[in-house]
């Protein structure tokens, strides 16, 4: 099943027959912002010549792809990460895009080559300072932190070197600890909340017994002292606790770097391991779990409807887990006490919901609202926290046009050509 889901992100784009939406013929030019930023291109040396010409065709979505969302109700603050245009965007909690409007103008955005943000996946708002913490995934190995006043193409106020492929992020404000998931090799890594530059993690959860399998979302249930992790199901077995060998001490490793900008991953070499495709899951651990520790409960199986479960949130008062179920265009709600192959207690799904490839999710307990960031239609949709079924959202904040499907091209690391169908193949 995990395998089948992988195909859902395989964007097959027809060269000769796609819609006007997906092809922007560059008869005029490459966009101005692109041209200006490459004006200082280096002088390449060749033997036969350099080809500096406009592309014949250019497939590009000009709209945002919301990958995560964080809400601070006390300040009416909504922050979303945009994985397409590499931006952090802030809206008012009470914004509501009129149906006829093309999009809602954000209060501020942070983006550009100084920000150290690229493939943004997760966001966290510090409830006191309103600093915004952001995880990069496959292309940048650090977590930038921006103050509430940061705007435009600015350097982060703080940087923390993180393992390659960090994804989800949350914090324990009581203990001042920062939690992140790492997609591969599967791990949960915990830092001091104030960690910066080369600071070492406080603890790491990894190994065969953890049953971590391509972890994504992470949430804390402080009331019950639990940690909740969503997994896509890509698993490696390493034969025990070790997933890596330490190649040098932290001190040796840190001594080799001269600044946060040069940091990359951890001083480890990963073992080959045995790969397996498993069902997606929600793994529940003791909050302080570390090392090769098994989960206390696992929600997993065909009844769960889990399908690329992404960001996750917990309502401690209601005893519920909310999951953005990306590949199924749904929001699933489970009980925090659930275990095994159980059906969700509620499912928010259907055409009225406007939930389309939801990856981001956040709860506003104060106002009793559920926020969903949809990668598939440029929209944040707001529901009552008790919503169920095919229900219309209370409010919608759109960053792009209504009734238009997003291309969802993200980190296109490869391209192929299907000569039979004359189609370009773009995996993400």
């Amino acid at each position: 099943m995990a395998l089948e889901r992988k195909g859902s992100r395989l964007s097959v784009l027809a060269v000769l027959a796609v819609t006007a939406l997906v092809i922007l013929r560059l008869a005029a030019a490459v966009p101005q912002e692109v041209r200006s930023s490459v004006a200082a291109a280096f002088q390449v040396r060749t033997r036969a010549g350099n080809i500096d010409k406009k592309p014949l065709r250019y497939i590009k979505d000009p709209n945002p792809a919301w990958s995560s969302i964080a809400v601070n109700a006390d300040n009416n603050m909504v922050v979303m990460t945009d994985e397409n245009l590499f931006r952090v965007v802030e809206y008012s909690r009470l914004d509501n895009t009129p149906p006829t409007a093309r999009f809602t103008e954000p209060k501020r955005f942070i983006g550009g080559d100084q920000t150290r943000m690229e493939m943004l996946c997760g966001a966290y708002i510090d409830p006191k300072t309103l600093d915004v913490y952001v995880t990069n995934n496959d292309t940048q190995d650090w977590m930038p932190v921006f103050s509430k006043n940061a705007k435009g193409n600015v350097a982060p106020d703080r940087l923390l070197a993180t393992p390659h492929r960090a994804w989800g992020i949350t914090a324990d404000e009581t203990r001042q600890e920062l939690y992140m998931t790492v997609q591969f090799p599967s791990a949960v890594i915990v830092y001091r909340k104030s960690a910066a530059d080369n600071d070492a993690p406080l603890r790491t959860l990894e190994g065969d017994a953890t049953e971590l399998a391509d972890p994504h979302g992470i949430a804390l249930d402080v009331k019950n002292d639990l940690m909740i992790i969503t997994n896509h199901g890509h698993r490696r077995f390493y034969g025990g606790a070790a997933v890596s060998t330490i190649t040098e001490t932290w001190e040796q490793w840190i001594g080799k770097t001269s600044g946060a900008g040069e940091l990359n991953s951890l001083p480890r070499q990963y073992l080959p391991g045995l790969g397996k495709f498993e069902m997606p899951s929600i793994n529940i651990y003791a909050r302080s779990a570390s090392g090769n520790t098994p989960p206390v409960r696992v929600i997993k199986g065909p009844k769960t409807q889990l399908n690329w479960p992404s960001h996750v949130a917990v309502d401690e008062g209601r005893g519920e887990i909310f999951v953005a179920n990306d590949a199924d265009d749904s929001i699933l709600i489970f009980r925090t006490s659930d275990s095994g192959d159980v059906a969700p207690t509620r499912v928010i799904q259907g055409p009225k919901t406007r939930v389309k490839n939801p990856t981001g999710l956040s709860l506003d307990i104060k106002n009793g609202e559920l926020w969903v960031a949809n990668m598939g239609n440029f929209a944040a949709t707001v529901f009552p926290i008790t919503a169920n079924g095919d229900v219309a959202p209370l409010r919608v904040i759109r960053g792009g046009p209504a009734n238009q499907v997003a291309l969802m091209i993200g980190n296109p690391g490869a391209v192929g050509y299907d000569s039979k169908r004359q189609q370009i193949l773009v995996p993400n």
Binding site: L3, G7, L10, V15, V30, V34, R35, S37, V38, A39, F42, V44, R45, T46, R47, A48, G49, N50, I51, D52, K53, P55, L56, R57, Y58, I59, K60, D61, N84, D113, T115, R116, E118, T139, F184, D214, H234, R236, G261, E262, G273, F277, N307, I409, G410, N411, P412, G413, A414, V415, G416, Y417, D418, S419, R421, I424, L425, V426, P427, N428
Partner: protein, 245 residues
């Protein structure tokens, strides 16, 4: 996923899955949440985080670069199968993050240590030296992502996204070398500059029929098509030795 290849003979699509240590083959017309028709996965495969691959539809083989090796599987392999050949050892100099195969001229190109491109005989096996090593300051190589080969022109086309970790590295280009090139040699052709709009080219694919080159750019999250008839210049193929199979 960091690679994808279309098999025009069998109408199939192949992709690597590094997280689950697998090579997946789908129907050419696969759509939606469709299961693969074959999976290469298991301890006998020796796969270790396969990130890229290429296929040789003439000799029906899959080439998978690994951490210091190149593993070769039958094109129709399925399950926990052993590689039929493995190029590895200190003499190979393989770093192994990207690969492209030329079934016409019986060669394959793979990334090597110290920012190099290594060219091997297609049937290389074991701890063997490369036929050619393209390495040095004149190559202007910082990092190599996906590669493709135009066999009729004996031309290797390489996506160069610049220094790892840089937001918008200055030295980015699509570079092209002859498979006969050797040493510290500048690329034959490059695609880069103000008009192209390229910021961080991650991948390349060729369409010789329409004389087009497809480039994905990570920094733009976009796909560009360049009309480049000048690079599709056939050269006389090398004679095929009688003992080839």
């Amino acid at each position: 996923m960091h690679d994808i290849r279309y098999n025009a003979v069998d109408d199939e699509i192949l992709v690597p899955n590094p997280f689950s240590n697998a090579i997946l083959t789908f129907r050419g017309g696969a759509n939606g949440q469709e299961a693969p028709v074959r999976i290469i996965q298991g301890p006998n495969t020796e796969l270790n985080g396969p990130d890229r691959l290429d296929i040789d539809v003439v000799h029906r083989e899959i080439f998978v670069p690994g951490r210091g090796n190149v593993l070769v599987f039958p094109l129709d392999a399925n399950g926990d199968v052993r590689p039929k050949r493995a190029v590895r050892g200190p003499d190979t100099q393989i770093a192994g993050s990207s690969i492209a195969v030329d079934p016409l001229n019986n060669m394959f190109a793979v990334t090597g240590r110290d920012r190099s491109i290594l060219v091997f005989d297609r049937l290389a096996n074991g701890n063997v030296k490369p036929l050619h090593v393209i390495r040095g300051p004149n190559t202007q190589i910082d990092r190599i992502n996906q590669m493709a080969i135009y066999p009729a022109g004996k031309l290797l086309v390489v996506a160069m996204p610049g220094v790892q970790g840089a937001m918008e590295p200055p030295r980015v280009f699509v570079g092209m070398w002859s498979l006969d090139d050797d040493g510290d040699i500048a690329p034959k052709w490059t695609i880069t500059g103000k008009q192209t709009g390229l910021k961080k080219p991650f991948a390349v694919a060729l369409n010789p029929d329409h004389k087009e080159l497809y480039v994905t750019d990570m920094r733009l999250n976009g796909v560009m098509t360049f009309a480049v008839p000048e690079i599709f210049q056939p050269v006389a193929p090398a004679p095929v030795p009688a003992n080839r199979h």
